[in-house]
Symmetry: C2
Subunit: 117 residues, 2 copies
DNA sequence: ATAACATTTAAACTTAACTCTAAGTCAATA
DNA sequence: TATTGACTTAGAGTTAAGTTTAAATGTTAT
């Protein structure tokens, strides 16, 4: 797949895809004879994974670390698992906080409802 | 209360408090005879509200709009309510997305568990 | 085979949201 | 009363995460 196709499929700009690869957030994508990126299915899976994790607030920094460990092979499994657990726990706290704020917003909206009908 | 006290109480730097006031994200705080900020209880309530809403991801831009409407008086109630509803709905979607990612992380962590124990 | 368009790289630029600096004022303390 | 330390403003600097630009090369449709 070309960068344009991947960009469209995952709704991430080609610029961002190149940027992610440049900083090591995506494993290096193979080029064809003329130097143009040709994304494999595994590349696409990484793109999708990164998109999902970024949208959940995981920092680029921590994801670079995760990918770097992945590329070092199976002996990094424990370390990778620890990263995921740490991020998972942060996410739980975050969701909790957001739910509290949601309740607060709901309450405030109700107050407005009392006069503004 | 002085800016240092408010800063400590809400864990927001004095720089940030001044910055928020400067850009209209906080209503202008009264100064004493020598020009030093003296935060009233209402000021503090705003600080706490802003902190909470920012941490939930509401943009500074939308909060400035909300506060600006507030300062224009009761006839802006409907508009303010609409802002809150819009942000509340965005927040619900966000929480939903985060919960899905949380499930995915949990699943991945379990996969790691299978070999790395 | 030439115009029009996509891709490449490196590097500069942008944006949101702060954060720091400089130069000055003011209040409390030694 | 001299110094120490918090506060003031305006404006410059920082950070994370892209986005845009420039200059070159490659590809496709006529």
């Amino acid at each position: 797949m070309t960068i344009a196709e991947v960009s469209k499929k995952y709704d991430i700009s080609a610029d961002t895809l190149r940027y992610y690869e440049r900083i090591g957030l995506l494993p290096r994508v193979n080029r064809n004879k003329s130097g143009i990126r040709d994304y494999s299915e595994e590349d696409c899976n990484w793109v999708e994974f990164i998109k999902c994790m970024r949208s959940a607030g995981l920092s680029i920094e921590v994801l670079i670390e995760y990918i770097s460990l992945y590329q070092k092979g199976e002996h990094t499994n424990q370390a990778r698992k620890e990263i995921l657990i740490e991020e998972r726990d942060k996410l739980i706290l975050r969701i909790d906080e957001l739910n509290k704020t949601l309740e607060r917003l709901n309450w405030k909206i109700e107050q407005y409802g009392k006069w503004s009908k």
